[in-house]
């Protein structure tokens, strides 16, 4: 009996230690974004909001932030739409090549972001396509498609097919059934996919680094800033990135679970 409680105690201790390890960098990041000193190092003095004021007053930083939000907003919309179409086609029109189609759509997940970015960089370079936020967006859709596709495919169940059939029996065309029945019913999955894609796109670094020149995103901007050494300004910007990402994720989790519970 005592060995059991000992192992349970060890289990809890390990869990606590694990959480300390997981949260240490985030905690330090956020804490020292409020420092009154010039360096993000102990001892902590403050709290002060000067570093947040500094980044909000930095025009290039705000511009990069807007670029990142635009990029994530648009590329995630495309990724979610294409992920949905891919999943819809496979779920509703089963055929011999389904395995192959799934494999093709999922393939980018087996490849590093660096490779996706390098492929686009080399191709655009040779074809003479200039670097731009659009090029980055194309890459972000590629990396997010597999995730959107698999989340949405998992949500396209058999009972929904029955509702679609009912709609069609009642005279709805395919397109009407898709737009007025399938899409509304699928809203939780679509929303979850969109949010996940958004958070992954908006702080993605390497593809944005390779494919932009002037219209840089926030992570690229932070990387440039980092070359000048550590500064509480980076802590503040990093905390903002973290808070926005976590808000999007928690909103997605909350909405997805709320939609699920009555059904």
């Amino acid at each position: 009996m005592s060995t059991t409680s000992l192992t349970r105690g060890l289990g809890w201790a390990y869990l606590l230690l694990g959480f300390v390890f997981i949260f240490l960098p985030v905690g330090v990041l956020v804490l020292f974004s409020f420092t009154a000193r010039d360096v993000p190092l102990p001892p902590f003095e403050g709290p002060s909001l000067q570093w947040y004021a500094r980044i909000l007053g930095n025009e290039r930083m705000v511009e990069a932030l807007i670029n990142s939000v635009l990029l994530a907003g648009v590329s995630s919309l495309v990724a979610t739409t294409l992920g949905f179409l891919g999943a819809y086609g496979i779920a509703r029109n089963p055929g011999r090549f389904d395995g192959l189609k799934r494999y093709v759509i999922m393939a980018p997940i087996t490849v590093s972001y660096l490779i996706v970015g390098m492929g686009l960089l080399v191709t655009f370079h040779v074809l003479g396509v200039p670097k731009s936020l659009w090029a980055v967006g194309a890459g972000h859709v590629v990396i997010n498609l597999p995730l959107c596709f698999s989340i949405i495919l998992a949500g396209l169940g058999e009972h929904q097919r029955n509702i679609e059939r009912a709609a069609q029996d009642l005279g709805a065309s395919d397109l009407q059934a898709l737009w007025r029945v399938t899409v509304p019913v699928m809203r939780p999955s679509l929303f979850a996919a969109y949010c996940l894609a958004f958070t992954l796109s908006w702080d993605e670094f390497i593809i944005a680094f390779l494919l932009t020149r002037f219209d840089v995103t926030l992570p690229v901007m932070l990387f440039e800033l980092l070359r000048g050494g550590s500064s509480p300004e980076l802590n503040a910007a990093g905390s903002v990135v973290f808070v926005i990402s976590v808000s999007v994720v928690l909103a997605a989790v909350a909405l997805t679970f709320r939609k699920k519970s009555p059904g």
């Binding site: 960098p25 029109n93 590093s112 191709t123 390497i206 990093g238």
Partner: protein, 298 residues
């Protein structure tokens, strides 16, 4: 392609439901497949092609040769990046799995069910700090005047700060932090799917808790471990930021070497060849673990 008219089939008649035959569902996947073909598959083929070209007086010379690959394998400093990357990635995967498994185990079997979801969400929350910011945060923690050195000096374990940044261990630490979260998730998802009756049966048949773990739980949780290990390997092999910020430039990993070719030398063919090598290495990793990974069944 021939299409079956759909509107004249009476409702409820057996046979393929009419939805299956519609033009809309037939072509719905096409844009998705097309996007992947144009912006993923084609650029990779292009990169493969460019990797056999040469750079001559600042321009690309489209002449087929394997010179770039020969150069990689004959110049040790180029090949070293690959070896360093494989070593760091495998070390990371191993250490992360060792750290994450007990976490997932305690979460799945010891924590009361109603707390599990909350703790799990908490455990992956820092996942959403950008990896750039996370690496930066670690570099501050590990710095000469950072939290760890300050603490060790305060409790008199050391007198002078120890250099923790800009070495391989710092890169591995940064990676392990990230992948502990990921592996905890994949292993937990696997552990909660194992029927408790298996473990009860083993206990009934006289197995000790340790034997039960070793012969029932561990083998059944291998898929969860391997999925996590594979994702870890893929991401580690291709990550530029973590080694750049935490490891510095004393010892280059393959992605750092690739970016150097782009930014310093503007040698696209060479960078392409090294990227192809990176891809091949990951592919080899995939086949080594293929029995646990079923991508087409996601």
């Amino acid at each position: 392609m021939s299409t079956t008219p759909t509107s004249d089939r009476p409702a409820g008649q057996p046979g393929p439901p009419r939805l299956f035959r519609s033009e809309l569902t037939r072509w719905a996947s096409a844009p998705t497949l097309l996007w992947t073909a144009i912006f993923f598959a084609a650029p990779l083929v292009f990169m493969l092609m460019v990797s056999t070209w040469k750079r001559y007086r600042g321009k690309l010379l489209p002449e087929w040769s394997l010179a770039n690959y020969e150069k990689i394998f004959s110049k040790s400093y180029l090949l070293e990046g690959l070896f360093n990357s494989v070593e760091v990635s495998l070390t990371t995967a191993l250490v992360s799995a060792l750290v994450a498994y007990p976490l997932a185990y305690v979460l799945a079997y010891q924590v009361p069910a109603r707390w599990q979801r909350v703790l799990l969400i908490l455990a992956v929350l820092p996942f959403w700090t950008s990896y750039l910011v996370r690496s930066y945060a670690w570099s501050v923690v590990l710095g000469d005047n950072g939290i760890i050195n300050s603490f060790l000096i305060a409790v008199s374990i050391i007198d002078d700060p120890v250099q923790l940044n800009y070495r391989r261990a710092a890169t591995v630490l940064g990676f392990v932090h990230f992948f502990t979260m990921l592996l905890t998730l994949t292993i937990y998802a696997n552990l909660v799917q194992i029927k408790s009756s298996y473990r009860l049966a083993a206990a009934d048949l006289g197995a000790s808790r340790f034997q039960t773990f070793l012969r029932i739980t561990l083998p059944l949780s291998m898929p969860g471990i391997m999925v996590g290990v594979f994702i870890t390997f893929v991401i580690c092999m291709g990550d530029f930021i973590t080694p750049q910020i935490l490891g510095g430039s004393n010892e280059l990993l393959l992605p750092q070497a690739i970016i150097l070719q782009i930014n310093r030398a503007a040698d696209f063919p060479m960078a392409s060849a090294m990227s192809v090598l990176l891809m091949l290495t990951v592919t080899v990793g995939y086949f080594a673990m293929a029995r646990w990974l079923r991508l087409d069944r996601v």
